[in-house]
């Protein structure tokens, strides 16, 4: 939403939003952050726990080096500085899903700090990215939700999962920018393969800090924190709603309460979490069970050397090297699997536009209909390229090519084999096409007269008839040319 459209009805004051995002990403490690319990999704409650995850007396944490590597890789992708020395701190609060009564996090020496990413042409600062362990989850029983539940069960499978909390600076100024920032971050973590980036399953979680202020004002307004948005669309909607709610409060002279608010998608509103009024005192202090971590320049360089191509780099390459439009390139970058497939297909044919069209059009449609991922089909880059080549050479028509696609995605035959077996090669024999054209014209003498009278549109009908007669195999351009020649010579 533009600043102008946020003008409150009652006054002429315009407002701007000041937004910062706290994004938790669950790092793709085999084991948890401080124990060797597995991280696989979907196990039975409390199956993936060790005495360490359960906070048993006598246990000690040992940091998962893989998680540290993934944090460094992410930090580098976010243009962050990587700390030479970083440490872990204990953050205390009592809650049944927090086994030790504290969460191991990083307070004042985060592993990554001072980075940025570019979003819609603006640079958004990254204040820090720090490692921390996840809590477990509560399952409320006896009712559908917490309200009215008569008991709660604790599942600690998630407790101790490795998270990287990425905290942006309050540089974001619109709900759209917030959404795109989130999408950009998701693409990034997927490209560097540190996180699934799945908001619905919770492997990526986004909290929004938002305040409003009159345009031009430099002081920050009171902020609220928005939670419980499990899609980027909801994030944008929640911000829109919350900004209007805050503006209405300011306009009517009421105070904004600094609090956490939950997005209620069913009602389309944010609601106060009604948490305790006293602010938490987390009593952070350095975890004495974990020595500070020293990260060498060499280690950072080694991890940096393994950095794969990032989304913005791929976007530039798809445009520059393959001449794709911004739209096409963006589509292929956002859907990483399609982009990867594009790259591999581009090694076998130079008709890049055709590859993009196939991937974003018919192939995506088939995948959607069958609710499949590209990797689950039998389509190979070689076969896609071969089909494009056969079409370009005129061996088959594009209509035939579209018909072949399901077989290419579900079978193991090459396009050439399919064309040969089914006799689908395009008819490009002038004599044969001429004979079919004559037959069609003889059956439709009126159309010749109409065409001659200037109603050239009838040509399309005639081409279609010839095509039908050829069972789709005749070369449409040749039909076109031959029909015109016969009509004009008649």
């Amino acid at each position: 939403m533009s600043t102008a459209s946020m003008a409150a009805q009652a006054s002429q004051t315009t407002y701007e939003m000041v937004i910062g995002l706290e994004v938790h990403i669950q790092l793709k490690t085999t084991t948890k952050l401080f124990s060797d319990a597995l991280t696989t999704f979907g196990a039975d409650p409390n199956e993936q726990t060790t005495p360490i995850c359960l906070g048993m007396p006598g246990v000690l944490p040992v940091v998962n080096e893989k998680a540290v590597e993934l944090a460094i890789l992410t930090g580098l992708a976010l243009n962050c500085h990587i700390a030479e020395v970083t440490k872990f701190d204990r953050k205390h609060y009592f809650y049944p899903d927090l086994p030790k009564g504290y969460q191991i996090s990083q307070y004042d020496m985060p592993i990554c700090y001072d980075g940025h990413i570019d979003v819609l042409g603006r640079r958004i600062g990254i204040e820090r990215a720090h490692l921390e362990e996840d809590a477990g989850k509560l399952v409320h029983g006896g009712a559908d939700g917490l309200a009215g539940s008569t008991y709660s069960l604790v599942d600690l499978n998630r407790a101790g999962m490795p998270l990287l909390e990425i905290v942006s600076r309050p540089d974001i100024r619109s709900s759209e920018e917030a959404r795109v920032y989130g999408e950009t971050l998701r693409n990034l973590v997927r490209y560097i393969d540190v996180c699934d980036g799945n908001l619905e399953e919770g492997s990526m979680r986004v909290d929004v800090n938002i305040s409003v202020r009159p345009t031009g004002e430099t002081k920050l307004g009171t902020k609220t924190e928005l939670k419980n948005m499990n899609s980027f669309r909801y994030i944008q909607k929640a911000i829109e709603y919350e900004a209007q709610r805050q503006i209405a409060l300011v306009e009517s002279g009421q105070a904004i309460v600094q609090e956490s608010r939950l997005w209620n998608e069913a009602k389309g509103i944010t609601e106060s979490m009604r948490s305790k009024e006293d602010a938490h005192d987390y009593r952070y202090f350095p975890d004495p069970d974990l020595r500070p971590l020293t990260i060498s320049r060499q280690q950072v360089d080694e991890i940096g050397a393994r950095m794969p191509e990032l989304p913005h780099q791929r976007l530039a390459r798809f445009k520059d090297t393959f001449g794709l439009s911004d739209y096409d390139a963006t589509q292929l970058v956002d859907a990483k699997e399609l982009g990867d497939f594009f790259d591999r297909t581009a090694q076998h044919t130079k008709n890049y536009k055709a590859i993009a069209n196939w991937l974003m059009g018919d192939i995506t449609n088939v995948l959607k209909t069958q609710q499949q991922s590209l990797g689950a089909t039998t389509l190979t880059p070689e076969n896609l390229a071969s089909m494009i080549e056969l079409t370009d050479q005129g061996t088959i028509s594009s209509a035939i090519a579209k018909k072949l696609l399901p077989d290419l995605m579900a079978g193991d035959k090459t396009p050439q084999q399919l064309v040969d077996e089914k006799g689908l090669a395009q008819i490009s024999d002038t004599g044969a096409i001429e004979a079919m054209c004559k037959e069609v014209l003889e059956a439709n003498p009126d159309n010749i007269a109409q065409y001659k009278a200037g109603k050239t549109k009838v040509l399309g009908f005639l081409v279609g008839q010839v095509m039908k007669a050829s069972k789709g195999k005749a070369n449409p351009q040749m039909i076109n040319d031959i029909l015109i020649r016969i009509i004009e010579n008649s």
Partner: protein, 497 residues
């Protein structure tokens, strides 16, 4: 009461088992008989682990029968403080909150003891969660000093000290956070060593003050102590604070007498008005013994040591307030079943489960870490700790080791100090600085006071200097004859053969 040497040391017993003169099972049976005969007066044990111990003893006898070489100390019965996990055996920490808590895994030291086939006979009494200097903060029983059962054995590892000093077992493990092994060792005429921080894995030790805690052994001779430390020390991938340096052969080092030893006497601990005169005399005696071996003496100053107790009671309680947050009634241990909501489940469980001293320390530590007070308390305490560390480093540039008291006085009467926590805290004035600095400290018997109560002194060395401490301790033990000391009344009843 006078001291008489007991016939057998742990190493003697081990040798007899290895040679087939003594079966591990017979020794174990004798041990349980001694416990039955003696522990009613001493109250050192909280609970026994007869089945596990029996299995280990059988394993030892089988190994001997099949001619396999035995690992060091195999067959020697040992007792563990009840804050060290033995899988399948309760770890109560002498607290109501863990009354029925069965350890779900072995502590790393337990794994090492099992590998060396030492039968673990039972778990000993302590001040609740190792918080105390007299063992009187136990939720279950009052342990007695075998040298005078109207007196405390010292704390917090009082039960472990009492069962070794009453000849029930020759070896025990305790934990030392501010003197909790060295003080009871001193009060009970035992040898005890708090190793360099990180030398022994803390995995499976229920945490009190994580940056100070070290599992520490008790024995009645230097060599038994050295052998036991050798068994339990070493790197552990489960403990990020464990040291990776190789463990020296401490036992062999006992027989290498120190040469041209430079010994420092800590000015601030010698001048203290509170120091009992008998203890000063014992120090002089030890000086003479060491001078006889060619050692030279000089006085060194640890200028910040007077702030050690204050610093300790911030750092240790801050860490304790955090470490004990997990006892919330949700997953294990005591639960206040009558609680109507989660807030009251937490508060009532903790209200009912923790004793007075534990609550006091949790509140102290919580306050010290609170927003707005952190810099003034925890931050400052850490700075003091750093200064104390530097004091020791400076001292060890001048001397090889330090000699000082283990406590300002000998064992006090049960109940004497319970009403005054600060007086109780000052008991540890000579031991606390060692934990703050992370250096090793060995407590050794140095005589008896006019009431016949044991006097203990400490040898302190720089990081990793356990070997030096053992060699000096052995030299003193030989010179003083204070080896394998037991009160006469327990000499006959124990495990000795």
């Amino acid at each position: 009461m006078t001291a008489s040497p007991a016939p057998s040391t742990a190493l003697d017993l081990h040798k007899q088992i290895q040679s087939g003169q003594l079966s591990a099972q017979a020794l174990l049976e004798q041990t349980f008989n001694a416990i039955k005969a003696v522990d009613g007066d001493i109250d050192g044990f909280l609970h026994l682990a007869e089945n596990q111990a029996q299995q280990t003893a059988e394993q030892v006898d089988q190994a001997v029968a099949t001619g396999q070489p035995l690992p060091l100390l195999a067959g020697v019965p040992i007792a563990l403080k009840d804050n060290i996990h033995v899988q399948g055996v309760r770890s109560t920490c002498a607290s109501r909150i863990l009354e029925n808590f069965v350890a779900p895994f072995d502590a790393t030291v337990t794994t090492k003891l099992n590998a060396h086939m030492l039968p673990i006979v039972g778990k000993t009494n302590l001040d609740e969660f190792a918080m105390g200097s007299s063992c009187e903060n136990s939720a279950y029983k009052l342990s007695k000093n075998p040298w005078d059962t109207s007196r405390v054995p010292g704390g917090s590892s009082g039960g472990s000290a009492a069962v070794v000093a009453s000849n029930q077992v020759p070896l025990a493990l305790g934990s030392d956070t501010g003197g909790s092994v060295r003080l009871p060792a001193a009060f009970c005429a035992l040898y005890g060593i708090k190793p360099t921080y990180g030398r022994v894995s803390r995995y499976g030790l229920v945490a009190y003050g994580s940056s100070l805690d070290q599992i520490s052994p008790f024995a009645r001779t230097t060599k038994d102590l050295a052998a036991l430390l050798k068994v339990i020390a070493g790197f552990d991938p489960m403990d990020s604070t464990a040291l990776s340096d190789e463990v020296p052969d401490y036992l062999a080092l006992c027989d290498q007498p120190p040469k041209q030893l430079k010994v420092g006497l800590v000015k601030e601990l010698m001048d203290s008005d509170g120091l009992q005169p008998d203890i000063k005399a014992a120090i002089d005696q030890s000086i003479q013994h060491l001078e006889g071996l060619g050692a030279t003496f000089q006085t060194v100053s640890l200028p910040h040591i007077n702030y050690a107790v204050a610093s300790y009671y911030i750092v240790a309680t801050a860490e304790a307030s955090s470490n004990l947050a997990r006892y919330d009634g949700v997953r294990y241990g005591l639960r206040a079943e009558e609680a109507q909501d989660i807030y009251h489940l937490f508060t009532q469980t903790r209200e009912q489960g923790f004793g007075t001293e534990v609550k006091r320390r949790i509140m102290l530590g919580t306050f010290a870490l609170s927003s707005g007070y952190y810099d003034a308390y925890y931050g400052k305490a850490q700075k003091v700790r750093q200064l104390i560390r530097q004091d020791f480093e400076t001292a060890f540039e001048q001397v090889d080791i330090l000699l000082c008291p283990a406590a300002p006085f000998t064992a006090f009467k049960l109940g004497e100090k319970v009403a005054d926590p600060v007086q109780m805290y000052l008991t540890d004035i000579a031991t606390i600085p060692v934990n703050l600095a992370g250096i090793p400290g060995l407590s050794f018997p140095a005589g008896f006071d006019s009431s016949g109560l044991p006097i203990g002194l400490q040898l302190l060395g720089p990081h990793g200097a356990e070997g030096t401490l053992f060699s000096v301790s052995q030299a003193l033990e030989t010179a003083s004859g204070l080896s394998n000391c037991l009160p006469d009344v327990y000499k006959q009843q124990g495990v000795a053969v």
